[in-house]
Amino acid sequence: MTLVQFWFIVIALLWTGFFVLEGFDFGVGMLHAGVGRDEAGRRAAVNTIGPLWDGNEVWLVVAAAAMFAAFPDWYATMFSGFYLVLVILLLALIVRGVSFEYRGKSGSPRWRCSWDVLMMAGSLVAPLLIGVALGDLLHGLPIDKAGEYTGNFVTLLQPYALYTGVTLVVLCLLHGATFLALKTTGEMRDRAGRTARRVAPPAALLTAGFAIWTHVTGGKGVLPNPVEVLAILAVLAAAWLVSARREGWAFAATTFAMATAILSMFTELYPRVMVSSTSPAYSLTISNAASGSYALKVMTVVVVIFLPLVLLYQAWTYYVFRQRLSAGDFRPPALLTRQGNGRPPGAGKTGPSGPAARPGPAGPEGPG
């Protein structure tokens, strides 16, 4: 394996990691209001991804930076070509990111409701646009001899690219629903399961169609490649596991489906990184867009040391926050006392393992 091949694989894996991880928190962002229903439930939903989403988003930062470092021409053409798409994407990510942080910082329902809407919009728009961009890479765009994009914003919205975006949004929804079913209890768990069962059939159809269309777009013969076959199998398995209420396995299957869906695009793309529809000779490839071998060697050392380390401590984070949450954990005790229910389960006296109910420094209600 040459260095440039290695870096193509690294970048494909970084994008895959991004969608597998951030995929479910996009899903939770879209679903939190529906699955959560009341304020306590919404907070429980947001808190299932609270400690995780920021670390997940770094996968996007690193994927982009790795493209910059290993394939500067890919980064330059793609980011200047997708200009307006990226402006909207950044806006969506900004809005979504701060909405987690800010929604609970004021008591007024209108304030929270606005942030809820922004969170849903941001979580929907972000995977849609990234999907469009990735679809465009494979389907091809007008790129001239100098490697510059010559189309406009509308050129980017071609059918395959849009379909990729929609498929990824629906996969994120399914992935988020299986995640919520795995991470919550009680009514929320039921509602998340119901959502997953409802989303699974269309997600399976869309993804199967996506795998086939991706193969056709790649233009490499009739037989789908193994990754695409796996994507179809995984999403069908996910649909079955969801209806069989096997939460853990269902989440594993949606993870696998997401990963194979992203990877099937990259397997069709190779050895190109950005297809030119103007002339195949102008396509950017792993050899004509790459950095020099010294820079790639340096980066290889860095990635070989740090990526396993990152996987290790992120896996540990998921282990630390493995407990399920419930809406009851987030009901202020004062309110319950007024209703005569006493303290909610898990609040206060359950010791270090119990999810405590105090709503943070923003809330004045202490226990008792």
Binding site: R43, N47, G50, P51, L52, D54, G55, E57, V58, V61, V62, A64, A65, A66, F68, A69, A70, F71, P72, D73, Y75, A76, M78, F79, S80, Y83, L84, V87, L91, L93, I94, V95, G97, E101, G104, K105, T150, S291, G292, Y294, A295, V298, V302, V303, F306, L307, V310, Y313, Q314, T317, V320, F321, G348, P352, G354, A356, R358, P359, G360, P361
Partner: protein, 474 residues
Amino acid sequence: MTLDLARWQFALTSINHFFFVPVTIGLAFLTALLQSTWYRSKNPGYLRLTRFFGTLLVINVAVGVVTGLVQEFEFGMNWSAYSRLVGDIFGAPLAMEGLAAFFLESTFLGLWLFGWDRLSRRVHLLCIWLVALGTVLSAAFIMAANSWMQHPVGYVINHKTGKPQLNDIWAVLTNPVFLWGYTHVLLASLVTGAAVMLAVSAWQLRNQARQPAPGGASQPGPPLFARSAQLSLVVLVPAIILAMFVGSELGVIEARYQPMKIAAAEAQWATCQPCSFSLIQIGGGNNDHTPTQILAIPHLLSLLATNSWNGKVVGLSPLQSQYQKQFGPGYYVPNVFIQYWSMRVMAYSAGLMFLLGLWGLWLIRRRSMAGSRWFLTLAVWAVTLPFLMNTAGWLLTESGRQPWIVQGIMLTKNAVSPSVGLASVITSLTVFVAAYLTLAIVDLMLMIRYARKEAEPDPAPGDGADALVTAVRY
């Protein structure tokens, strides 16, 4: 026009980003110190302070993260010609930053924030220190990348492509501009974090003096926020002395590699030896070579720019003719007005901050800070000084590099994206300015409202398990 707007966009987004970054670096370190003190002393007051300032930190990090994403994308969006030419070198530190620093910072911040009741005290303390390490590492990589633009090292020009290629990563990571510039930025961040902590503490102290809290009066020892005020002052004063020293050393190094930058910062058109430092002037700029000097200190500029009493500083006019011979026709003088005033705003703000710090330390020695209304009021307002200082310092270094984007290798005007039209840049500029203004207002509102709140009360005796609840929840 596209070029100007792209430059405005980068300047505005990076200045905005750099409001949040130094606060994050400084507060992460100070919060880690507070928590360590709590870990050792088990004094619940320090736990309250840790959680109080930790929340301020978290409100900031969210904005720092998303605005950082904009910065990273902007290189490719607006400056694709630049990215194409120097990605081989400039991309590497950015990717390292993500892999080694951002993952660390964001993952362990999540663990710290939500892990109060899930982790042992020791592991939880380790988390905040890893967050602090992450912020410091990320600054290192981005400063290495930036320093390469100021003083390119460790590369060869590829004969086939004409592009610079990395051939010595250690040269990039030991670039003298990087070593001194990075130290300077870290110290400035400490000053910023400490000033924020001081201002918040002062506000709380002043407020308590005005209306003593019913529970607060019975507490033994000094008031809670006197402790954080003390910690911030103990960090602030040495940090600002060192920042000034390192900054002046950085000036000497930049005078060697970017003589235009330093000559412009002193509005020095003719070569001088020895050179006096102008404290203040009226007029001046790229079209006015003879401004009215109000006050000048003999020999000081020689000392600052060359480290010697009688050092020579080459003026802008001779440098301009030298550059024209070297790089061909063109105008190579940066904006003199910006250089001259950003240098002074930075230095004078630092001076004021230093005096305030000394006053505070003296009050602590006399144990009379909580009673000094004047000091407390000034300390609250002084929180604006480090932000002024940081922005001015950033302008000094970046505007002083112009007209180059990479000194001696590429001009800024050749670096913009050829495929991006004026309408696109106007759209993105409008979107980002609107989004950032909204964010800044909301963030400031939340910070101020939160900073004015009481710290959480001490946990009631016997309620030990409850003392370890989550610091912040969404």
